[in-house]
Amino acid sequence: MESTCIPIRVAVIFSPGGRLTPKWFELGRRKHEVKETTYFWQDRLGEVARMHYAVSDGEALYELVYNTCEQTWALTALKSERP
């Protein structure tokens, strides 16, 4: 995965119980539909909880991070080539 940190726009469904489901995100003026959320994990930076989503648009794998304090989304990793 190539590391990066780009603020992005993400469409998300907030479900009861605090569950978030990313549906699509914009990157390079292109809308990427989330076909599969392959993994989810959480960590903390100081007091701030960050929710990480490994998502696939069917072509590449992306890591989206939701900062629960600032309520912002960022793209932090991207894998576009096949291993």
Binding site: E36, T38, Y39, D43, L45, E47, H52, P83
Partner: protein, 411 residues
Amino acid sequence: MKHRTILHIDMNAFFASVEQQANPELRGKPIAVVGGGGRTVITTSSYEARAKGVKTGMAVWEGKRCCPELIIVIGDNRKYTHTSTKINEIFRDYTPEVEAFSIDESWLDVTHSLSIFGIAENIAYLIKARIRHSFGITCSIGIAPNKLLAKLASDMQKPDGLTIIEPGNVARILERMSIKELCGIGRKMERHLNMMSIYTCGELGRCDEGRLTRKFGIIGRRLKEMGQGIDNSPVIQYGEEEDVKSVGHSSTLERDIDDPAEIRRFLLQLSDMVGSRARRYGVSGKTIHLYVRYADFFSSWGKQTTLKNYINLSDEIYKAALSILATVELEQPIRLLGVTLSNLKQQAEQLPLFEDERKKLFATQAMDKVNDRYGSMAVTFGSLLPGKKKAGNRVIPPSWRPDGIKNVDVK
């Protein structure tokens, strides 16, 4: 006496399975997970890679020699610590008596949960299903009357196994089982026992206790019991462990270093990591231990000093570590540095008498507050400013636990 029912749960190729789950393109392929520190030692590998001879601890080039199509994945420790914490939460739905043995292994005492869930096998299948549903990964479970046998059982079927050792079958199973299969018998102990013509658990269990005690001291009796499959040790849940005996951090550096200024900088950073964790959990210590491993990987040394006073301020730990380093002439560049604070006591807060020391304490407390809020090293010493190479926990230590002082923050 009623038998206990213990489960030992071992996640299969944990880091590799998590990576395969996170990246569907890796599923079914031979992968090896390596640390993010620029070094190239394989932390773990998938079952597909293991089938080709790839083993933990191999250098990447060795792994590639065994399996040319091996895919190298840089591990993400926070993914693994999160998953481990959540899996341990699942375990607590079945019993409060859960002991995390490492990031990917736990014991559960379900003796008192059987009236709710029926037989232990039911609990094991429920746990397997929930882990697979939530994380897409598998585990091997052993069910037995004690921790020793439950661990042995979980090792008997991998991956995705479920093995039950019934109390009545213990002697039969252990009779021909190699002693090296027992948790607690390492290569060195195995060699010693082999020299006494003891190769199987059956032979160990029948060995004269006096003979074992003469050779191994007080653990002689324990060894005989292990050979008989006896283990009365309880499952120790979080909050009931013994007090921690030390707080330490070590770091394999991105490259070998011999520049004294650089060595001092890493030492200061490690001292700060030790100090801030000790302060967060309210302990201070008198003994500082410094560990150095040289570039050749095989030579190393460790030295310690004991002070008159208990300390936990980073600069005091650093000064003590530096004083140890000053007594040694370094033979080679350094590959790994470690600082440990031990001889601990719960810290009694005492305001220093002198103004300068009071200022230092207040400054440290202010730094800790900022770092607690914004993340470790948000405020730090000037010599550790950004742009300079940093040490850090890029490897999850064996002592990592989901809660408490052993819950070390990893990168």
